[in-house]
């Protein structure tokens, strides 16, 4: 062998040894979970001092934490060295727990006793993660169909021996389960895992037939029975007193739609209105009584009424609900008296009559050129003017 070849071979050997001599000394491949420390023997091994527990626990913080709190299986064996039960270099997927330790291990000494179907399962089925990272909760392995809405303690409803939720009774139910609810199966309502959702409402299950009212169902209905429904209109009774309080819900809330219910009289009473639209009904009517008139004629209209006019009903003047176009002259109402031969046309009625009484004339006879004196002054007009009133001259 030439000198150059010898030097090259030596150089190759040096590079090889310097680059990965630890790999060459390894007794076997590490487990995949330790793969990232392959070649760095010192991370676990101390020369002439084995593998101290500290080197294991510096990475396995979960185990260290449990030992710190005295929880879990590893706390019960904290006086033993890690290597008494565990070892590596047996291959990427080989067990890290020595067989004697595996055989003597009792899962009941951990935070999670293996009951029911768990007892027959292969360790790796659950322990795909390092032990310290596992939580002693069901959803470490089982997918939570309740979207964490029920918390971590599955044992409240389930048992390890059977997943069927027999533990939760209707009596233990947070919601009122009286009436027909008590006969329901869990899955009939809890289709979406909304077991502990405090925001659960009736219409999560029941279709809202009220057009999306903002009121809670319980404002009108009881859980025990949907009917009869009662609702305290509360403040509304001030605005809607009288018969409104005894009217059927449907009388105002057509088709049980409670949203956008009218609050104006015209919203419901349009068909009842016997007259033209005069504006707000409340100008004349009250919610207590339709017939009770609170229209102040002398303030709210230009036609002043007094005397005998005060005693007549509205319809006597406002025939057919004719309020807006009601006549304001005496003759428009009192023409019958003239037609029946009271007297002829003398001009304006108010020249002789007042609203106090038709028969009591206020005509000042002096203005006619024939002053009434003596007994003439006490005569009835008809005594001189006959049945036919003379034309005014």
């Amino acid at each position: 062998m030439s000198r150059a070849k010898t030097l090259a071979l030596m150089l190759f050997a040096v590079v090889l040894i310097a680059g990965g001599w630890k790999e060459f000394l390894s007794p076997g491949a590490l487990h995949t979970s330790h793969a990232d420390i392959g070649g760095d023997c010192d991370q676990c091994h101390l020369v002439f001092d084995g593998i101290p527990d500290e080197n294991c626990l510096s990475c396995h913080e979960g185990i260290a934490a449990l030992q710190g709190t005295g929880e879990g299986f590893h706390s019960s064996v904290a006086d033993q060295g890690c290597i008494e039960c565990h070892g590596d270099h047996s291959g990427p997927t080989a067990s890290l727990t020595k067989e004697p330790a595996s055989k003597s291990f009792a899962h009941s000494s951990t935070r999670f006793a293996l009951d029911g179907a768990h007892a027959n399962m292969d360790c790796a089925t659950c322990h795909s993660e390092p032990l310290g990272k596992m939580e002693a909760v069901c959803n470490s392995c089982h997918e939570d169909p309740h979207s964490s809405a029920l918390g971590q303690d599955c044992n409240v409803c389930h048992e390890a021996v059977a997943w069927k939720s027999d533990l939760k009774t209707v009596e233990a139910h947070a919601l009122d389960m009286s009436g027909k609810h008590g006969k329901l199966l869990c899955e009939e309502c809890h289709t979406q895992g909304n077991h502990l959702d405090l925001e659960v409402s009736c219409n999560d299950c029941h279709k809202d037939g009220h057009g999306g009212t903002t009121h809670a169902c319980s404002d009108c209905h009881e859980v025990a029975a949907f009917k009869p429904a009662e609702f305290d209109h509360g403040p509304c009774t001030c605005a809607f007193p009288g018969k409104h309080q005894t009217v059927e819900c449907l009388g105002c809330h057509e088709d049980f739609v409670f949203t956008d219910s009218p609050t104006e009289c015209s919203g419901c009473h349009t068909d009842d209105r016997p007259h033209d639209d005069l504006g707000g009904c409340a100008q004349c009517h009250t919610a207590t009584s339709w017939s009770e008139n609170r229209f102040v004629h002398n303030e709210q209209s230009d036609f002043h009424i007094d005397g005998e006019h005060l005693s007549v009903s509205c319809s006597q003047c406002h025939e057919g609900g004719n309020f807006k176009g009601a006549p304001t002259t005496c003759e428009s109402c009192h023409s019958s008296a003239v037609d029946k031969g009271g007297h002829g046309e003398f001009g304006g009625c108010a020249d002789c009559h007042t609203t106090e009484a038709f028969t009591k004339s206020t005509f000042d006879h002096t203005t006619s050129g024939f002053e009434l004196t003596g007994k003439h002054s006490k005569l009835n007009c008809h005594k001189c003017h006959g049945e036919e009133a003379p034309a005014a001259e």
């Binding site: 390894s26 076997g28 290597i83 990427p92 997927t93 080989a94």
Partner: protein, 183 residues
């Protein structure tokens, strides 16, 4: 009595093989298990002890104690004992999942044991087929004698390499094994 020792040796080896095979077949101990470690020590002890034959060949004091052939029987027994112990000590190499790291000193050590053991068996086979003038003397005549001389020339360095590898193996085990320091 000493003439019958080969039978005793054979009985020991057979019994040991049966017991160890039974143990390793039913409940194979881990490499760090005390049984496995002790088998390693027995293998080393055997390999060191069989050097006594070299002394017996050279020192009359040994030959006064027993015939050289008896020392050879003892040498062969220790060779088998070492091989057997090393085999079970290293059995995890064949049963575990991990691939063998051929550069590992333990693996090299085991290979060296196998090579030297086979070499010894081959040497003994040749030795038995060659005529001898004197007990323990070098055989004479023919091509096989020449091969035998070559074998002697090769067997000793191989044995020396075995001891060197054994030393490295033990040293590294003491340095890095988490359990060996307890033994």
């Amino acid at each position: 009595m000493l003439a019958r020792m080969p039978y005793v040796y054979a009985a020991i080896l057979v019994l040991q093989t049966i017991v160890l095979a039974g143990v390793y077949a039913t409940d194979p101990p881990a490499p760090s298990d005390p049984l496995s470690v002790w088998l390693g020590w027995i293998a080393i002890g055997s390999m060191v002890s069989l050097l006594i034959y070299s002394f017996a060949r050279r020192l009359k004091r040994f030959r006064d104690m027993a015939k050289l052939s008896y020392w050879l029987h003892f040498h062969i027994f220790l060779g088998f004992e070492g091989m057997l112990s090393a085999l079970f000590h290293s059995s995890h190499l064949f049963t575990r999942e991990a691939a063998i790291v051929w550069t590992n000193p333990g693996v090299l050590n085991f290979l060296a044991v196998c090579i030297v053991f086979c070499s010894g068996v081959f040497g003994r086979w040749m030795y038995g087929r060659l005529p001898h003038r004197t007990e323990g003397g070098n055989p004479e005549g023919g091509g096989l004698a020449r091969v035998y001389r070559y074998w002697i020339f090769a067997h000793r360095p191989m044995a020396a390499a075995l001891y060197l590898l054994t030393f490295v193996h033990i040293a590294l085990a003491f340095m890095f094994s988490p359990t060996l320091r307890h033994f």
